[in-house]
Point group: D2
Chain length 337, copies 4
């Protein structure tokens, strides 16, 4: 940790601080510059409250040299972690690439089964579908809840696809016993009590980046899960809130993929559907994320009922998804070499 | 609701959509422009899924004309709501202005009692203090929890100041029975299951704007509480995440005060301490928020132990808080006229 | 254009507005809803000042249905534009993909010639290099200016690579006579007088998105150039300013590529070097941009002198650039099918 | 300057860097930590290119300890600067507070004269009005240009109010000879060639913060003017671009006032009109800025013609402006004590 002192700080003011820091077990290196004096603190600086030092009159700024994340830090675990879903199931990380696909919401048993079969044929490795839905408005559809979970499990039984679905309320954890991957949504990335409880399970956790979450915050949230004993964490970039919201709902931060690859050994996947909010943008963003080195993708695929009144919603249909999977595989071949 | 159709959309494509909308009970007004056809939808458009229409091939964009928030909307409730804490306690809104003050964390029974006495003398109407603390890092101090709540209640008993403290986990709600105002922090503004449960109580809820929350989202979160039966909601602007984070932690959006005053009848207070992250900026921001018409303030005040090694933390001390309260009162006099 | 009137607006208040709008030559469609009345304005709404109507007491909001950009709008020009540099030179758009490479600043005649030769061998189609440098600080190196331009032209003469370099001050335009592509940097995207003058030339203009520019603003700036007669505009996404600036300088908005492809017929290239600010992130972002459908790339490549004191800057060297070009070509093959 | 080296960097790798830094005339303090080695560089670090060191393989991060701004830095000039307009004219800074008011655009000689007289009566100290207008669209009104300047000068002659107006193109500087304060708009804050030229005059320059400019960038732009010889710079906060743009055009960053007060001795004023984009928000934001300690305000005031078809635009009229000035004076009395 480095503390930069304000100009004009006297030796008499500095010494009590140095003395106190040394009592905390730190070594203090003092560099006296023309304008500023700089203290370099060496030792177990984890225990020091950075904000407390920051607010001292004589301190201009404090910088932590060490990363605040430990268990997920690649510095202490250079090899990629591989997260395996179930026994011999699909894998993420360490060269393994898997695709999660399915509808935004589970609507009916027929719908979810139909989509499950279709996405499996096209190359998806896991099935997604929302049973508990976080909605900005209390007046919007909140998901089928427990019934939706059952529909998902039926689709799993019929197709063999492991399932991924979101938890919103820690009191419902028991209902997720047969769910293969538990998703933490962007609004709950810093719901720390939820993360702690999930840390006590051994299930793979799909942890989405917050709506306007930093990369460091995402890693600290992973740390909450891992510090409680569960190292099966899959990170998910899903777009961040920026000033640009006319043509895309959020801005997909694809550079988060190589940045996270350097900082952590955990697998990172990308959800282009929620980020852009427009299915016509999904294929190009899915290909871009693959080319950037993501360990997987999460893509919304809808069934395509014959709407009498329209030539069909412009969403990703099972057919367009199959074509996309084909191109994803080819991009993977290029970048794996 | 207004739907703008893509250029080149034929009548044959448009008619099934109009037919379907009419079946949903809406009246549809069609305006044919040189380039675009515009559909004006009149009736109970709440039930229509905007995203679903948005994703049709023939639709360029959809705009909701009515606000999505109802119960908190000033259009349907022109007079200010007044939230009263306890019986004959401090009030927020409708010309009533109250100040919440206290330390960030409850540390010891002596500390919280001392600060409570001091802020009461200076003019604070409520005592704040964190017992359950949301921390980005699992390795940071997480608050004294239930013990911290007890210390707060003791300080309340001794001073008569009603208390405000944050809930993080809905499973701990029983512990908040004697808490006067329950705070929902910025990381839980969209923890919808928590909001729903708080809506079933009748306690005043202090609802903070999300870390990067929009004004509309804040109102929709208030709506979650109110739709479940609890209309005692106090909104709190606490700074938003922007690209500028070198000199302030967040950007305090003081314009949210007059904007919210127009949109909703609920009281709005401002927390300048968390927004700026620097206590030296708190006085000027507190005065600015008061001048902008806020219904109250929430200010961190620390006790001021004689640190041997420093001339004291640069935080807001009871003394500087007293001076600030004096000036706040004078600003109130100017704007109340 | 659509104007939504405030609730409670009377017919007597509305009629003078309608009358005035009709005098401006517009047809006005009136839809009376339960809460709001909506006016749909049809005709040449370009001439109407949206802000003026917006600020009327009886108006809640105004939405433009037509895009404000015309000449660059794909709606009126469905085919891709192809920008050709010089006669038979490299091309951008309409299936043509070109790579611009070179150092950030032109330093010496030897440096720029060396880099030019190297990037040409590796597959670059144009040479970049800064002669006039926009620097945040007046105390930083401002570029070699006119001398730097001469060094670039010598490198062009020796290698045959067309050159791209930035203009900052319209008074220097004469110096750019032999420059093949004139670049407008992110700080000048809304320097409208500069854009107007460049619109009077016929040179290809490489127009960068502003530091925090919206997609609409980028298109309106292109419109400034095109409305003055020059349709040879190449758009460039170069990262936008967001709250995330710890691990990347800006956030590269790769979704801007498919978004712009839909809105405009102009070619779009991506500059991953400036966006990320870290050369180690450049290859993955260059591949991602290619996979997303960009019409070209602009990449910083440095020469690699044997620094005695280091194992070499971690920048993109001619060698790593050659490998990258190889993979870019393979990605192009995948997405062109 | 502090350089933090990557974990695992060997002494053999570090030594050439230290040697090179010492050759540049710096003293290098080395602190060896458990994970990281930290170099503290003392001396004239201005000359060192931070980016160049940043990109070395062995360097994890570089932090500048000294501020990059010098001439405007309060550390080297503790007293407030006072900018005086003309001889014995209105003043900004050092306890002096002035109000600039007037219409967005100069429209006719009658309009600008009328507004000038009205705002003078109400308490404005300077007259503003746009002659050269930066417009996002080339199809929007670009201002009356030179004719507009003449109308402003006539209004000045008639009322005695000094005038403030924006320059967009350095080639028009001669036209500004009789203008009292030259404004640099938010789109030109980093038009460095323009700033350099204005630095060669002795006129007061009103420098607006960029559309999405940081506080540091604003100070560096002031530095461009001051480093060229003109120290008469007035800074202006005018709202920054954030994700919240539904209810306000930009987010007025009032905390920039106390932040800038600490960093620089230059006066800081606030423009609440452009920031919010809604005149109904202007009074509360003007009062807030005054309470926060701003040295002045810039407010748009329109004349109020009897529009036959409306009860008048909801803009700030001369009457509402007079009331506002009254309350501003009272807030000033509170905070001056």
């Amino acid at each position: 940790m480095i503390a930069i002192l304000r100009p004009g700080t006297t030796k008499a003011q500095t010494e009590p601080l140095i003395h106190w820091l040394e009592q905390q077990g730190l070594k203090v290196h003092v560099s006296v510059g023309d304008v500023h004096t700089v203290l370099g603190l060496v030792g177990n600086t984890e225990k020091i409250d950075m904000d407390m030092i920051q607010c001292l009159d004589i301190v201009e700024s404090v910088t932590r040299v060490s990363d605040p994340f430990k268990t997920c830090n690649r510095k202490f675990h250079p090899d990629d972690s591989v997260v395996t879903v179930g026994e011999n199931g699909p894998q993420f990380g360490g060269g393994h690439f898997s695709i999660i696909a399915g509808p935004c919401s589970v609507e009916t048993p027929e719908q979810i089964l139909y989509v499950a079969q279709k996405v499996k044929e096209s190359g998806a490795n896991l099935l997604r579908g929302g049973a508990f839905k976080p909605r900005t408005s209390p007046y919007d559809f909140q998901g089928h809840g427990e019934k939706g979970l059952k529909m998902l499990l039926e689709a799993k039984a019929a197709t063999g696809l492991p399932i991924v679905t979101e938890i919103m309320d820690i009191r419902t954890l028991d209902l997720f016993e047969e769910v293969d991957v538990i998703q933490v949504g962007a609004r709950n990335t810093q719901n720390f009590d939820l993360l702690k409880e999930l840390g006590k399970t051994q299930k793979p956790i799909l942890l989405k980046r917050g709506l306007a979450g930093t990369i460091k915050e995402l890693l600290m949230s992973a740390e909450y899960i891992m510090a409680n004993g569960n190292e099966n964490v899959i990170l998910c970039e899903r777009g961040i809130r920026t000033y640009e919201s006319t043509y895309t709902r959020n801005t997909l931060d694809i550079s988060a993929v190589p940045v996270l690859k350097e900082l952590t050994h955990l697998p990172i996947i990308v959800d282009p559907s929620h980020a852009t909010g427009k299915s016509k943008l999904v294929p190009s963003m899915a290909l871009a994320a693959t080319a950037a080195g993501a360990d997987g993708l999460m893509i919304e695929v809808h069934n395509d009922p014959a709407h009498a009144w329209s030539d069909g919603p412009q969403s990703m249909t099972p057919e367009s998804f199959r074509d996309l999977c084909e191109r994803i595989r080819k991009i993977r071949e290029v970048i794996e070499k």
